[in-house]
């Protein structure tokens, strides 16, 4: 069930309404049942895979607290390996197998193992990471073990963030299932506004841009550099609106029931460096990697070389997490390179910029924002391209063959809709980033202003939205 579907429009009020009507003692069970139903609307049998992950980590955590020393560590390692094995089989086996088969062909070896014919379970990487974070936190002693199997299952399966995050931590989410949430109009209003804005980002901006991006990226050889450049910029905005739109709907729908999920996006394209970008983009994943990979490897409390290695490794793993394809690995490596290069050249860049502009100059800030956006957009080429060869073609054409912009009759109109949608998005994002509190729309104390904004947004969605219930990009991860 997609958030941008009529099914969800029926499911959400029904689940929320029943949640508040039921006695507190039964609410967790209702949410768990609703979450199972939500997940089973994709591929029903795949709930068994989720059950395996849940069972492994539920019992592993109990054994971890009931043992000590080497045994305790053994259960942690066992849990991590078993959970990751499920992820490997469904997400990475074919990629691994194809590469080994390719190598075998190159060396003229006989390699008989065939690829698996399976579909990747939706959101597998998300709930795997959420489940792992629980076991690790229990091992570290920062989280009490959860003995109620139903509540633990709900922690992994809570429907708003089940298939595309935010990847929650047990300290933030688990205790909320025990709290009695009253119907609070403030929570409901906040949640619904967030959902409305998320829906706008998804159906008005992301899905509209997708029309142009797909047309161009599906046939990169037929388009000139200018078109490919525009499609790349559009994809950067599309993926932001798609994913942050999903996160907004997830956080909003949880908030309506009184649950507070972590922030996942904080206007990342206003970042002035790649480092800042990663503190504002997919925050729940970035902090997961920071807590469970970067810091255990030593973080920045090691020699400079090891520090750079740590950063690079984290981003390579981040690339692999996103998808079983070399293009994702290159995307991750590029970001790792950006970060390391940024650190190595920090002093030189500061001195150079200081020759022309002061550190607080608005122009310098703007230049930094634009450069960061362009660097991130360049990396998106690998993320979106169907293959490494396509990415090569796109990059080569952008830099060597600008040519003409692809605009025929219908495309021209789609482009206008896209530009209009981006302008609306930008107006709101700029206001929130730079004019905080000066102009209020959603938060206005004047009910007429608020109602006008709500009604206006819904009218814009009905008139300009793309209503083909397009899949969310991050579902595939």
């Amino acid at each position: 069930m997609l958030f941008n579907s009529i099914e969800f429009l029926i499911f959400f009020p029904l689940v929320t309404g029943m949640y508040f009507l039921l006695p507190h003692a039964y609410r967790w069970f209702w949410l768990l049942a609703a979450s199972c139903f939500f997940y089973m609307t994709f591929i029903p049998v795949y709930i068994l895979i989720l059950l395996i992950t849940i069972l492994i980590d539920y019992f592993a955590a109990i054994y971890i607290v009931e043992t000590s020393g080497a045994k305790k560590k053994f259960f942690l390692v066992l849990s991590i390996i078993s959970t990751c094995a499920v992820l490997f089989v469904f997400k990475y086996f074919n990629f691994f197998n194809d590469n080994v088969a390719g190598l075998a062909r190159f060396l003229h070896w006989n390699y008989p193992i065939e690829s698996l014919k399976i579909i990747l379970p939706i959101g597998l990487s998300f709930h795997t990471f959420q489940s792992l974070s629980y076991v690790i936190e229990v091992y570290k002693g920062r989280q009490k073990v959860e003995r109620n199997f139903g509540i633990y299952s709900l922690y992994v399966m809570f429907y708003p963030q089940l298939v595309a995050g935010p990847i929650e931590r047990p300290q933030n989410l688990l205790h909320q299932f025990y709290e009695k949430h009253k119907f609070r109009s403030e929570d409901v209003t906040f949640g619904l506004k967030l959902m409305l804005w998320g829906m706008f980002k998804k159906i008005v901006v992301a899905d509209r841009l997708a029309i142009y991006v797909n047309a161009v990226y599906d046939n990169p050889t037929k388009h000139d550099g200018l078109t490919l450049f525009l499609a790349t910029i559009f994809f950067g905005i599309q993926i932001y609106c798609d994913f942050s739109g999903y996160s907004d709907i997830a956080i909003g729908s949880a908030r309506v029931m009184g649950f507070k999920l972590m922030t996942n996006f904080n206007r990342p394209y206003f970042s002035k460096s790649i480092h800042e970008f990663w503190s504002r983009w997919h925050i729940s994943l970035s902090t997961w990697f920071k807590d469970y990979l970067y810091i255990p490897m030593g973080g920045n409390r090691v020699t400079k070389i090891l520090w750079y290695r740590n950063l690079f490794v984290v981003f390579i793993v981040s690339g692999i997490w996103h998808g079983a394809n070399w293009t994702y690995i290159i995307w991750g490596a590029l970001h790792g390179f950006y970060l390391v290069f940024g650190l190595v050249t920090l002093e030189i860049r500061k001195k150079f910029a200081g020759l022309f502009l002061s550190e607080n100059s608005k122009i310098l800030k703007l230049v930094k924002i634009v450069v960061t956006f362009l660097l991130v957009s360049f990396a998106w080429i690998f993320f979106r391209a169907r293959s490494f060869t396509d990415a090569q073609v796109i990059i080569s054409k952008i830099f060597t063959h600008p040519g003409k912009l692809f605009v025929d009759g219908e495309t021209k109109i789609h482009l206008f809709y896209a530009i209009l949608a981006i302008a609306m998005l930008l107006a709101v994002e700029v206001k929130r980033e730079f004019c905080h509190g000066k102009i209020t729309l959603f938060e206005s104390k004047n009910i007429y202003v608020r109602f006008s904004v709500y009604a206006g947004l819904i009218i814009v969605m009905l008139l300009m939205g793309v209503f083909d219930a397009g899949q969310f990009i991050y579902f595939q991860f």
Binding site: P23, S185, F416, Y454, A455, I458, L462, L463, G465, D468
Partner: protein, 320 residues
Amino acid sequence: MPGNLFTFSSNKIFVIKVLALCFILVALDFTLGKGLEKIYFSQKSGKFFRTRSAIETTRADIVFFGSSRAIHHYDPRIFLSLLGVPAYNAGARGQDIVYAYSVLQGILHRYTPKIVILNLDTRIFKKEGKFERLSDLAPFYRNHPELRPIIERKSKFERVKLLSYLYTYNSTILHFLNYAIKPQLDYDGFFPLRSMADAAEMDEPVGVVPSYTDLDAEYMVFYENFLKDTLNSGAKMLIVISPGLAAAGEHAFINPAILKAKDLKIPVWDYSNDDHFVGHRELFADHAHMNETGAKLFSSLIADRLGGEYPEFGFKPTSF
């Protein structure tokens, strides 16, 4: 305590506000939607105007159907001047057999043309975005019951979505503005292209007719129904494969769509390898579409053959 939804007065006020907002939204949806309806049905040019003309106003004896390769290839003025019979081009850019079938239902609901001509190519069987372009027909949902079952194929809950007047006119506003600023003139549905194909287009195959596996089964049903409904209405049915800049090759003759037409004793006129057109860049705007010069020549050729082969309509043979 269960059922504590309305314990606090602030929550009651909240519910009243939600209901008020819902009422405002319904009122706005209706009034703005009605305004858009008025604009839509008063269009004087552009794709909405052409769709409306085909479904609601034309009474032409010859009606052409198909994708962009129909709308740019058949000039009704030629048919009127050579045969003395009014014709209408109901082809539509980017559209498929489902759209053609829908428009045919709108036409057959009002009258029976003498002959229906379907321009056959792969585009009318396109698989990507299946049923998506049916949104072009949404404005006809309320007043054309004959189109409802087809429009409802767009999505599972299309019937519910179309309760909204604004949704009915989704993605139309910029078209209205575009056509108001720059009218897209047509000649009884025919929309001429006025450029000439680049030399690079010479080798691009049109893909006039693909192999069987490329044809979508659901679309084949629409195609078959298109042919049968036309025949059942009493109109003659003719299939034409118009030429591309490059020759289509022999695969054109093994196409199941052609075989299906032949099963139903429907003539198929194949011009995909016609020497008058293939390789003549001056007659094409791009590899797949003829320009106005090419369309006039092609229309004359078809009109001439129609005059010769359908004398029962009073078509007069010309001397092409």
